[in-house]
């Protein structure tokens, strides 16, 4: 499988966890610890899907989501947050999926597979 996934989260251990889990499933993983780094990575690495945290230091995920979709509306983005309430923010509806963070990554993986059709 050569699908490329960009993990955007300011928590290093989350990036490590998701990288380990998703690479074990055969995905190519790239990571970014901020919104700005994410924009650069998208332009440089052209990922097939972005897993985007919402509450980060600096620009928050919702803001980055708008930038990403303005640049490439077809790029699938999975919003991933500890906060379920962002589901109520209509800006979050730009995302293709919304998964609340959990130690059980089954839901996240399922959504990724659905969006990448793998």
């Amino acid at each position: 499988m050569d699908k490329r996934i960009l993990i955007v989260d300011d928590e290093e251990n989350i990036r490590k966890l998701y990288s380990a889990e998703l690479s074990a499933d055969g995905f190519q993983i790239m990571t970014a610890d901020s919104g700005e780094a994410a924009i650069q990575s998208i332009e440089k690495d052209e990922p097939d899907l972005v897993v985007l945290d919402i509450r980060m230091t600096g620009r928050d995920g919702i803001d980055i989501l708008k930038s990403l979709k303005e640049r490439n509306s077809k790029l699938p983005v999975v919003l991933n947050s500890a906060y379920g309430t962002y589901k109520d923010d209509f800006n979050s509806w730009l995302a293709d999926a919304y998964v609340v963070k959990s130690s059980d990554l089954v839901e996240l993986k399922t959504k990724i597979r659905e969006l990448l059709q793998v």
Partner: protein
Amino acid sequence: MPEFTTRQTSVGLKARLDIHRLDLPALIVASGGYTLSVNRKLTKYFGADQHGAGDVFSFQNLQEHLGTSIREEVERVIADGVSVEIPDIVFTHSAGGGRRANILLSPATIADDHTRCCLVLLIDSTNAWIIEKKQSATKNELAIVSQVSAQLGATMETDEIVKTILIAVTAREGLGFNRAFLMLIDDSRNELRGHHAIGPVDADEAGQIWGSIPDEGKDLKSIISSYIRDIRFDETSSDRAIRDLVLSLNEADNPVTRVASGRTPALIDDAESLHLVQTLSNGLFGASEIAIAPLNAKGSVLGLIVADNMITGRRIQECNIDQLQMFANQAGLAIEGSRLYENLQAKIKELKNVNLELERTHRQIVQIERLSLMGEMTYRITHELRNPLTIIGGFASLLLRSSEIPDSDRERAEIIWTECRRVEQQLDALLDFSKSYSDDEDDIDFSLLLSDVVTMVQSKFTQTKNSLHYRGTETEVPLRVRKDLLMHGMFCLLELLSEIAGPGVDWEVTSVNPTSEIRAEIYVTSSSMSYDESTDLLRRFVEHRASTSDLRLSLANEAIAYDGGELGFEIRENRPIIYVAFSMRENANG
């Protein structure tokens, strides 16, 4: 004409007397009642001189006019030579009307032969007597009014005021009417409506009522006090009848309602008016004379007192009408005062309710603020915990699936992962609870809410291989609560119950609406547990509601208690039950 000598033995005075020159009616009588001389004043006084009767007017005639014998006293005066006064002889004058006189008997002697005789002087005191009578009547009247006023002043209850007035009008010690009726004006309908009555409808009932009245020797105040305590208006026919009587104030020809519009009392005694009144009152006001007095208050008429002497037929005097009006004025003012007092009491009660409502609202606001703050804090803490939990649990999960770790470490990784999942579930419950619920109360059907929650939680029971059925009432069970909060509380409660017992337990939920409270009852209908086991399980479950380590039960308890509900346990009809109850009174004001 012989001359007489009188003497005042006490001072030894002697005087020659010509009784014709006396300015007072007088005669001279000898022993044996023999009339010696009569002056014209006396014959004129009794009107006996018009037909020449003066010549034959005698001591005997005097006694006949006075209606009493004074011969004995005359003989004593002649014998003892001592003056005697016979005071206050009341008699009927031949010209009509009562008179009162003092008779003064004084010893005298005929100058010629020294025969002892008696001078009889008549001193008329009729005018003083009339004044005394008037004074006495006024004093009596004032005493009655004073006692009634005292009684009226002692209460602000309209019913008691009405009783006082009616008793005072009918009591022997009061105005002494046979019957009294009180009618009040209904301004909204422009009607005069019968309110209460006292007195018999016929002679038989009069005998029963008056025979049972042991009021001899009591003053009016005592009588009123004892009657107010004992009297039951509705036991008399006249009271029942008056309450059915309604007279329109639009009928200008009606002599009864005319009193209300004229604001002056009336005595109805002419045949035409009496017939009309009798017809309009369905025969209730059927006496030959009817006294009516308006209940005058400040600037308005509140009703009427109608009184009659239906049973005894005693004539109603003008003074009776005046007295009745005096009572009616007292009654009007007292009833007006009572109504003002009742209105004031109602306003005070209203104000108290508003204050209570304000206090309740204040408490709610404080509670909401605390809850809101608690929710906000819970929300923040929960999210701060979620990231590390995700990381710990996620890596534990990775380790579990790794083939490189020994079995002992795998078991520990599994424990870490399981515990992380458990904490995450608790965080989910906390997050749900900390959501901003609407602060508005809704009128809901508790039965419908339970039905919805049972549907929502059904999958949890299926997962744990248990079952849950809802047996609701067909009628609506109205309740005023914060719907979302209670739904969440009930959901948490039932979700936990799906987990506390092993598989194969059938649960049932019912909504019950007895008179005093609204409640949901949850119990086991079938399981492998013994009675003691299920009782112990449910009791412990509820007893730990405030101290449980499972946040969901604490949250369920808080959510239920927030709107005045109670989560409890009881054994009824040999069945252990968990109940959620809302008191009707607590819930009455929403």
